[in-house]
Amino acid sequence: MFKKLIQESMGKSPWLFHINAGSCNGCDIELVSVLTPRYDAERLGFKLAGSPRHADIVVVTGPVTKQSLPRVLRAISQVPEPRCIVTMGSCPQSGNVFRGSYSVAGPLSKYVHVDVDVAGCAPKPEAVIDGLALATQILKEKRGQMK
């Protein structure tokens, strides 16, 4: 019973940790707007956590520059299992307008398994919420696969 309870809870209380991997700040602002009264993602249990140790979902924005790559990977590795990685905006998926730049190491999926991609430059808040909701479902599944 407890296992089921925990698995259910896993889908209802996803805490976010936001990593800026060289973003232009457009997506960052959109992510914050998701938590504002208008969209209020907290009604789904979303909360911004201060430390990766507390997080369930890592939201990465920006094209993953060479400077930020080791830091992003380190922070992601410090998130306890089960965890989901969500890329937000087109940059971490493809590099967007920064593609081919000498300083860009992305896309992120070259280095870690990315669970959800939310495309757009910047994605609409509705899209972000949709992507995060999808991530919570994946989180729940991952929890189910754990012992």
Binding site: I19, S51, R53, V72, R74, A75, S77, Q78
Partner: protein, 638 residues
């Protein structure tokens, strides 16, 4: 009765308890070249002294007997005491008990702790002289003997403070202590002389019989001189900077002696002086003096401690802060207050001893006590950490350790006094005491973060746990801390209340020596009634049940199934979170940990820092000003 059996009667135990220590000092000075002989002699004499004192508990503490012992059988002739006397009532025995226990543990600790020092023979000689001096002081029934013992212990303490004279500040501390200590001793001598000129006796009991009611200018001045003299021994404000210097510079085992034993002898002197010799404690103004000085010591020293950067110096300031509690509670002149004060005095010896020994263990292994250079020792010295935490919780008054039990009684006593006397000043004292307690906690959080938790500096990678002997000594103190905290009822009814009752039975004290006590009021009705309730055993039981229940739930739900780094492989998962950066050494700690607090008090701290200038002339000036003020006070009030 045959002489042998006579010599084994407990009547002789007080003098034995003193003499074994001095004899040990002498024998070590003569035969102490061999390490084994030295250790055996030292251990034997401190154990014997402890045994003699423990054997006296039954007749004196429980039986209520007062042992009057005339050296050489020279009993008073013609109503005047001509011989040297020892007089042991429950109060003396209480302090002797503290002394004996502290000396014993400190001695056990010394054997391992001082192993790497040279001149160990001199160390043990002086150590036992110091112990014997304090023991003689608290068991003496004679004012001049008290002076001699004060000189012996001051001398030994100064020499021991300077013992590691290559360490920073040891000589300086010793010199400052010597100067102000000698001013104090001279005060005691002059005071003794003036009392002798008036009463023509040096016997405490007879002085107690003659002095009250016959006060003139000379005796009033003598009171001030003796008060200041014993004040320097207790290091109460304004003598606290010397305590900080001396405790900080001395070896840890001697810091235990200075803070646990020497300061108590000062408190003992003040109690004897105010409650017995002059019997002035029923005066409101006299209570004010003690409570005022006590509260001042309590508060100034705790704030000074918060600003310290050195482990032992911080402990030294706390030592005086706790002595402030004792003096405040004793100064209330209520049965509960005296009992609380004595209880706290005992607890102070236990937990402060433990903390100093822990500081010594850190110094022994790392070679420094600078809070800014230490950190993360809990992984290297787990036992010392646990023992230190027990001491820290005790001194900060976290239940169920002993500091809480006695502090709680102090609050009860001060607040009760405030309500009974209708004096709002005592209310302020209660508040100061409570706030001091939380500031104490704060500075021990600072120490535990700066020394035992946080990150381990590279230079301390080689540190090991201290040897078993040192841990044993700390363990004894820790065990006593827990026991006296868990059974406050037993401690108060068998140890502190007889002692407190003795404080209020001056008439018995006088008549036990064979003097006429008809002029002195008989023992007043003494009530130890509390207002509050606190049952540590039940609390602990409930806590254990709760903790057990939580732990069972936690273990059942695989709480302890944690992932932890295996092997030495570097895995970023188990690094600390540094905002994504690689882990590097960054220890948050040191003296200024509580900047949020200090910022608001910066004016006060700047002022205090300028005041504690470290120049010996300034401290001497404080002593002289204090003497002048107390003299003025006693001339007006008494």
């Amino acid at each position: 009765m045959s002489p042998v059996i006579n010599a084994l009667s407990y009547q002789h135990f007080p003098i034995y308890a003193i003499m074994v220590l001095f004899l040990g000092a002498f024998l070590i000075a003569v035969f102490g070249r061999n390490r084994t002989a030295r250790n055996v002699l030292a251990l034997l004499s401190i154990t014997a002294s402890l045994a003699f004192i423990l054997a006296l508990i039954r007749p004196v503490m429980l039986g209520g007997e007062i042992i009057a012992y005339w050296l050489g059988g020279r009993v008073p002739a013609g109503g005047y005491a001509i011989g040297i006397a020892l007089e042991v009532d429950a109060l003396s025995l209480f302090f002797a008990l503290i002394v004996a226990v502290a000396v014993f543990v400190s001695g056990v600790y010394s054997i391992q702790y001082m192993r790497h020092d040279d001149n160990e023979r001199e160390y043990y000689t002086l150590f036992l002289m110091l112990a014997g001096g304090v023991m003689g002081l608290v068991l003496s029934g004679d004012l001049f003997n008290m002076f001699i013992m004060v000189e012996v212990l001051t001398f030994a303490a100064v020499a021991l403070t300077a013992f590691r004279n290559t360490a920073t500040g040891a000589l300086e501390a010793a010199f400052k202590y010597l100067v102000v200590g000698c001013i104090g001793s001279t005060c005691i001598l002059v005071g003794t002389a003036m009392l002798y000129a008036q009463a023509h006796t040096l016997n405490l009991a007879q002085l107690a019989q003659l002095l009250p009611g016959n006060l003139n200018t000379a005796t009033k001045v003598a009171f001030a001189l003796l008060f200041v003299g014993f004040g320097t021994k207790a290091f109460i404000v304004p003598f606290h900077p010397l305590a900080a210097d001396a405790h900080g510079a001395a070896p840890a085992s001697i810091s235990v002696m200075i803070s646990g034993v020497l300061t108590k002898s000062g408190i003992y002197g003040i109690i004897r002086l105010t409650y017995f010799l002059f019997q002035t404690m029923n005066l409101g103004t006299m209570q004010f003096l003690l409570v005022f000085v006590g509260s001042l010591s309590m508060f100034i020293c705790v704030t000074m401690a918060l600003a310290q950067h050195d482990f032992k110096r911080l402990l030294a300031f706390h030592s005086i802060s706790q002595i402030g509690y004792v003096l405040t509670a004793v100064g209330l002149c209520t049965a509960l207050g005296v009992s609380a004060g004595l209880y706290h005095a005992m607890n102070h010896t236990l937990f402060k001893g433990l903390l100093f020994l822990a500081a010594g263990a850190v110094l022994h292994e790392t070679g420094t006590t600078d809070l800014g250079k230490l950190g993360g020792l809990s992984k290297k010295m787990p036992h010392t950490t646990v023992l230190f935490l027990i001491g820290a919780f005790s001194i900060s008054g976290i239940p169920p350790f002993n500091g809480f039990a006695s502090k709680w009684m102090v609050y009860q006593a001060t607040y009760q006094k405030a309500v009974e006397s209708g004096n709002i000043g005592f209310l302020l004292v209660t508040i100061i005491a409570l706030v001091t307690s939380v500031l104490t906690l704060a500075s021990f959080v600072k120490v535990s973060q700066s020394v035992f938790f946080g990150q381990l500096p590279k230079e301390l990678e080689h540190v090991k746990e201290v040897s078993f002997g040192m841990r044993l000594a700390m363990g004894i103190f820790a065990l006593l801390c827990i026991l006296t905290g868990l059974f406050p009822g037993l401690v108060t009814s068998y140890i502190t209340e007889p002692a407190a009752r003795a404080v209020f039975s001056v008439a018995q004290y006088i008549s036990a020596m064979g003097f006429d006590a008809s002029g002195v009021a008989a023992e007043s009705v003494v009530s130890f009634a509390h207002v509050g309730v606190w049952e540590p055993i039940s609390w602990l039981l409930i806590l254990c049940i709760a903790l057990l229940a939580i732990t069972i739930v936690a273990v059942a739900s695989k709480y302890d199934n944690v992932s932890q780094r295996s092997g030495e492989a570097v895995d970023t998962k188990y690094e600390l979170f540094y905002g994504g950066e690689a882990q590097e050494f960054s220890q948050v700690g040191g003296g200024d940990l509580f900047w949020g607090f200090k910022h608001n008090w910066r004016g006060y701290f700047d002022f205090m820092y300028r005041l504690h200038s470290g120049v010996v002339n300034d401290y001497a000036l404080w002593a002289v000003v204090d003497l002048a003020l107390v003299m003025l006070f006693s001339l007006i009030v008494l």
